[in-house]
Amino acid sequence: MPRKRSRLLVAGMLLCLLGGFNWSVLRQEQLRRGGAEVLLELAPRDPRALLLGDYMELRYLLQQDVADALEQTRRNDMPSDIMVILLVRADNTAVFARLDDGAPLAENELRLRCRLRNFGVRVAAKAFYFQEGHAALYEKARYGELRVGEDGASLLVFLRDASLQRILPRDY
């Protein structure tokens, strides 16, 4: 490959990577700041991931409700991504209402995207990453605080304890 073309390739890659990366950061920041707040109850545990460090593996109680609802439909041709409707209470905790059937949403309802895999239903982030040594701090986590966009995309931003207080090593 000629020298000029290979330089163009590297420069193009660098621009695309940094541009795409920062655009993606911007989108997630918009969701973090503007998304609807939802609290989902959890059942956590904590191992270590390659490159990403320590994390708490999360399971949401909601997952079982969605799985039960799916089983009742007795459909074998479900898509890999589905929408579920959550009922949001006054304290922002949310519970499963129904599978999305296209009907308009009530005022206290919102859509959340779920992934269907061979091993079950996946709701939102399945792990919360934290600084090494903070595991004990997050042991009391009972709720995951999510920001949910209009398209059902979700972002896990904090963990909360049983009294719905955010668990913060530092304010971010």
């Binding site: 020298r3 940094l18 993606s24 490159l51 992934r115 939102a124 990453y129």
Partner: protein, 732 residues
Amino acid sequence: MVMQPSSSVLLSWARQGHIGPDALEAALLYLGIRPDPAAWRRFWLWVLQLGGALSLVCGVIFFIAWNWADMHPFAKFGLLQALLAACLGAALYKGPETHAGVLCLLGGGILVGPLLAVYGQTYQTGAEVWELFRGWTLALLPLALAGQRPFLFFLLWITASLWGGLHLLQEIPISSFERIFFQGDSNFIIRWMYFQAGQAAFLLAWEIGSAFLGRTRPWLRTRWLPRLVFFALSASLTVSMAEHITSRHINIWHISLYLGVLVAGGSWRRRPDLFMEACGLCSLAALLAVWLIQVEFLMNNGITVGLLGWSLLISGFTAVVIRILRFRQGNMAQPAATAPECPDAWTALRRHLEARGLLKAGVLPPVCRAPGPPWFVSLVQGLGGWLAACLLLGGVAALLILTLDIRDAGVQRVGFLLFGGAALLAANLCASGREQFGSQFSLALALTGMGGLGAALAEWASLFDFMTLAFMALAGACGVAIAYCLHHAFIFRVIASCAFFFCVMFAWLEVPPLRLDRAEIFLPLDGLTLTLHALFWGSLCLLLIWGQLREKRWRLSQARAAFLEPGFLGLYIALLCFLVFCEALGDMHVHIFDASLKISSKLLGVCAGAALARWTFGLAGAWRAPTGVRLGLAAAAGLLIPAGWFLPGLSLSLLGLALCRQAGSRPLLGVTGCFLLAYFTNFYYTLTLSLLYKSILLAGSGALLLILAGLLAKILPKGQNPNTEEAAPHAA
């Protein structure tokens, strides 16, 4: 065919008295087998630069993994993007095709991973880990195209394979593997087939590029990368086909892909590749064996007949595969007239020695020998030999156990002893041939014999009530030592030596006054105990160095060299194994002799550093360097003494690298490299130090190594050894 000058040929001449010790040393130096000061300088510069750069990158990765809560994510993004931009900017400045530019591209390519990892830590959207590798692969593709080096494509292939592999694994729970392999899961098989088709497409693209663009782009003519991909692909497809055979589930597309890859690997290229043909033949032989097992061939007449029959069958398979490969090798061989420039190498060596008055004219004759099989053909033979021997031994053991039905412990001990002795005798009888099948077959028998002798003696030692484990380990070591003396094969002796020293180390830890059952090593230790531990590990390391410093004395004697060389190699591997043992038990929090393991591994690291310093001092003395330079070099190597306390694996592996260079041993280099990789992977996961401290330690070590490299480059000029002022053939 004329052999290339090699250390084995020169050593055999020296042992037969054709050339003197001085001529041997001069020839080894001239050929680059024995490093001269300039070669040591190049070697250590390479080790320090590579080690320093890798330590720095690991320090960054560990820091990212620490996930510092007090650092704003934007600061992390900014830091990594700046580093990435600096790397790629340097590549653009130097030119992506230059050596420095390619290294910068590699650094930039590696940094993309941590950048994506920080993104994943910060925005926890539920994205999968395979999505990280997908992004990494897409970023690496243009870098590999721009850099045009096989190792960049290798990195690309690794990340792409992780992308595909993790995607498959995360879509399917581990617990369902049994169901997948024994009952068939079309969904999984189809995804697996896509993954294999992707690998096949990569291979095809490389081969097409090599065929059409190889003339103008020499890097495309590299064979190791397509061979590696073909090996992985054919292994993966063989497992898939075996699954089809056992589940009787036919997927015509998958079978077509398998046959297509096999046919393409064997015959598509204008110049066939024997390695790919060997992979294809082994794959077909394995599938035939799976089919025969599926139809219960030879399995209906009892386990003894089955094992003995399968031993013969495997021998037959191996013979057929080797016969075909030999035939193909003969077809592919170059005409004798175009044989390489070996005579020139011999002539140059002769002239070099004659010019120094070390050789009388006409002493060195070119050696003629039929071309030996390539390493992978030998490997197939060796694997066949191992499998056949294991089945044979299983058959014999089944015959003895089922027919004699011995239950008395005393008779069992005698049985172990007799079985071990018989296996060793049989091994010596089989070891005479030059073929790998016979030598590996005999190796398996000899190892069984060694195990039998060791187990018999250890069983007898277990009768003592006092220091039972220590006595058992020492008795096992005695059995291993007897086997070492009785069987002469090099590989066997390396393994036996490793087993011997490992038993001795284990016995040492088990001696009651030396056992430290305290959980914390920083408790005030008994001074005598600590001194004894230090003396033990120090003497093992010094034994290793003593062997190298006195090498000239024992190397020239065939008998001494055959006895000592595998012994020293085995000792080093035993030290590596011991360190792995310490780390593994330490991570499992096994409290039995917990403190002994910790203190021993740290002292081993310290002693390895001290031994390297002592060796450096001795080597510099052999070069007749001034005392100041000798002391300076020893002090530089002595920096490993404190480093060995915190990172024992680092100092031990650096000692191993020096041994590899001195002996010119590639297998030892491979062993040490694998150990380093495993050690630092374990270092990431171990919880004894926080990721922050590890990051500081690694980044600090990396900076120190790079500074040392700079100092070494300045202090030691690129002096040419007075013996090698001519351009030696290895200089390139």
